[in-house]
């Protein structure tokens, strides 16, 4: 009898988790087990995963508000990334250096994020039900528009403009004298002196924890509750006197701002700023990660973000070393593409009770 109940519970749990998620988790577990077998150092692997987690987690977090308010997966995240890039480059242009430039980057990017997010949110309110496709193309067209702007905005700082002509920003530039490591160096725990190849970027993780806590807290306030209700059943929310459009716009602004902060966090870890078409490459890893973490097109939580980012980044960092060592072929790139896009396709084909 007891066994029977637990079998039901297991099946329920399996169903809730979804098979793709389990397969990915199982695969990652397999990678961790195989890592020592193939001769790669487990501590190094763990360091890599944690590192990549700390870079990406905020970007994944940026998915949450929009999913909550029923706007679907935020394929328009490049908009937030652009706000972040504007903030970062302008902070440098204004002459800030070191960790201060990171703070200023966030400060400067905020009005852009609010502006972009506000416009984007109002657009999405006009096309309820078709958000995801439009979001994708809003991302694509805004990035290509900004490609022109990077060339036209009269940046002067020699360390970021093109070396020869002095006009237009470089494709990629290093942040060594600016905000590289602004968070990750803070309270860094380095176990290398003890002979263990483990480095924990405490600052970055704390920063993510702070933002994650803030989002979690927000979702527990009156407005946050309204946001969840809007996502869950917009008609119910409207009947309960909620201004659905306003809440949705707010969620989009939040997502966009988190996207901006997310890309800055990413850059401080990575150490470089990538411009032009690079923002487009931020979308899929973030979308895929939150889905792998257990979110659906209209439900997501902070734990989805943490689990998903760990799983996805684990997959991305571990496959190149472990699988390559195993079969002497680097299939990591292909696996990444299949897993991330397959996950999105899977999520899209799940039946949701109502399409807002």
């Amino acid at each position: 009898m007891h066994e029977y109940a637990s079998a039901i519970a297991l099946r329920y749990w399996l169903k809730k988790m979804g098979y793709p998620r389990l397969i990915i988790a199982g695969f990652l577990l397999f990678l961790f087990i195989m890592a020592p077998v193939t001769g790669s150092d487990l501590a190094t692997q763990v360091t890599n995963v944690i590192n990549r987690f700390s870079w990406n987690a905020v970007l994944v977090l940026a998915m949450v508000p929009m999913i909550h308010s029923g706007c679907g997966l935020n394929f328009g995240i490049p908009l937030g990334v652009l706000a972040g890039l504007l903030g970062g480059t302008l902070a440098i242009e204004l002459g800030f250096t070191g960790p201060m430039s990171f703070v200023m980057a966030i400060v400067v990017s905020t009005p852009f994020a609010v502006l972009f997010g506000g416009g984007y949110g109002m657009l999405l309110n006009k096309i309820k039900g078709g958000e995801m496709m439009v979001a994708t193309y809003v991302g694509l067209s805004s990035v290509s528009l900004m490609c022109i702007m990077w060339l036209l905005i009269p940046y002067r700082n020699p360390s970021i403009v093109m070396a020869y002509t002095g006009v237009g920003l470089r494709n990629m530039f290093a942040l060594d004298s600016f905000y590289a490591g602004a968070l990750s160096e803070f309270l860094k725990i380095d176990l290398n002196p003890l002979g263990i190849n483990l480095v924990i970027p405490t600052g970055s993780i704390l920063f993510f924890a702070l933002l994650g806590l803030a989002v979690w807290a927000f979702l527990h306030t009156k407005t946050g509750t309204a946001m969840t209700a809007v996502g869950s059943n917009p008609t119910f929310a409207r009947a309960s006197g909620i201004n659905v459009d306003r809440i949705r716009t707010l969620s989009v602004i939040l997502s966009t701002w988190l996207g901006a902060v997310g890309v800055l966090t990413y850059q401080q870890g990575f150490g470089f700023v990538q411009l032009y078409t690079a923002p487009l490459n931020m979308t899929m890893p973030a979308v895929a990660a939150v889905l792998i973490g257990g979110a659906s097109v209209n439900k997501a939580s902070i734990s989805n973000v943490i689990i998903g980012t760990l799983l996805f980044q684990g997959l991305v960092t571990m496959t190149p070393t472990v699988i390559t060592a195993l079969i002497h072929t680097d299939v990591s790139e292909v696996i990444r593409i299949i897993v991330s896009n397959g996950m999105v396709v899977y999520a899209l084909t799940r039946k949701t009770e109502e399409a807002a």
Binding site: K126, M133, Y137, S141, L151, M284, T329, I337
Partner: protein
């Protein structure tokens, strides 16, 4: 009466906003670019010959109410796989093209079936699903071409293998079938080469589409496209009809990609397909099509306008800003912008149709109420 006419004019403007915008862009950019008329016309005719077939493949899913088939890329990949084999077997010229088309069919059908089935599971989200399918199937394609070919799937010639022994090189050279269709019966007139055979193929394809609309299947697709529930109630197998429309589109996209690539003469193995869907869809929309309605006329107008913009934008960009990259980015921006605009307008229209219906009803009620009050 006058008011009504005004209204119509505004309506026309709204419905043809995108083509009109493009005509203006082209009108501004052509003189700035400084290209000669014969060069420009030659380029456009060539591009028409190679692109129209691909774009025609988009029409059938639109008819079936499945929107812009972003999944046409799947067909393009099938075409590329076929071309890789044909290249390896050293089949040249038109026979090579024909063989590649035949070989692409089973692959296209399989991918189309997969895509169609998934789209039936995501009704109302077909477009984003098709868009994501691109990337997903790109992964599968890479797995096959980069790892399976020449290891599991036999590839004879070292010249198309990667130096490491398996996988296909990043560029596949189609020198032996380069422009074989374009050159057949080609007419050179005042510096403009007209690829007659290409246009014959396109003409036949147009006839097929027109004919198809008059078949039972075409009629069913139109019915399904307009109202799935009514079609289902009338006994039409909706899911199957939708899958067939995607399969047809995928197969034609495969043919289209082969025609396209034989004109170019080589292709980057891993990226040739990636943007094909995007610019075909942009071209179709530029021609005045929308997500739910597209005609052969839209295809032709779209190709002409879109490619004119495409050819002249970089040079015009240089002329205006002095920077070549700006023109390049500009045309990319315009392509994406057009699709964004079309999608937004489609969604807004869908919503407006609903609310307008309500308003009309309310008005009628008011009138009736007043009438009722009098009697």
């Amino acid at each position: 009466m006058k008011l009504k006419k005004n209204f119509d004019g505004l309506d026309f403007l709204q419905n043809n906003l995108v083509p009109l915008m493009f005509i203006i862009i082209c009108a501004v950019c052509i003189p700035l670019s400084g290209f000669s008329a014969s060069y420009l016309i030659n380029e456009i005719v060539t591009r028409m010959g190679r692109n129209i077939f691909l774009i025609l493949s988009l029409l059938i899913p639109i008819m079936a109410g499945m929107g812009l088939n972003f999944g046409m890329t799947l067909g393009a990949m099938a075409g590329q796989v076929a071309l890789i084999f044909v290249t390896d077997w050293q089949i040249w010229g038109i026979p090579g093209v024909v063989l590649a088309m035949i070989l692409s069919v089973p692959v296209s059908v399989l991918l189309g079936l997969l895509c169609g089935k998934l789209m039936n599971m995501a009704k109302g989200r077909e477009m984003i699903l098709g868009y994501m399918m691109n990337y997903f199937v790109t992964g599968l394609y890479q797995l096959v071409v980069l790892y399976f070919m020449a290891s599991i799937i036999p590839i004879r010639h070292a010249s198309i293998r990667l130096p490491r022994g398996f996988g296909i090189r990043t560029t596949v050279n189609l020198a032996n079938m380069r422009q074989c269709l374009d050159n057949e019966f080609a007419i050179l007139y005042k510096g403009v080469k007209i690829p007659v055979l290409n246009f014959i193929i396109i003409g036949v394809m147009c006839l097929i589409i027109i004919w198809f609309r008059r078949t039972k299947l075409g009629q069913d697709m139109r019915a399904v496209g307009q109202d799935m529930e009514v079609a289902q109630a009338a006994g039409i197998n909706v899911d199957r009809t939708r899958i067939i429309s995607i399969i047809i589109s995928t197969v034609f996209a495969g043919f289209g990609q082969i025609i396209y690539l034989q004109n170019i003469g080589n292709f980057p193995t891993y990226t040739a397909h990636s943007q094909i869907g995007m610019f075909c869809i942009a071209a179709l929309l530029v021609g005045g099509a929308s997500v739910e309605k597209a005609s052969i006329g839209n295809v032709f107008l779209g190709v002409i306008l879109f490619h004119t913009m495409f050819i002249v934008a970089p040079r015009a960009g240089v002329a205006i800003t002095g920077d070549a990259m700006i023109g390049e980015y500009f045309r990319v921006f315009v392509s994406y912008g057009v699709i964004t605009l079309a999608l937004v307008m489609y969604e807004i229209k869908k919503r407006r149709a609903r609310s307008q219906g309500g308003e009309l009803l309310a008005q009628a009620q008011r009138a009736r109420r007043e009438g009722g009050a009098q009697s």
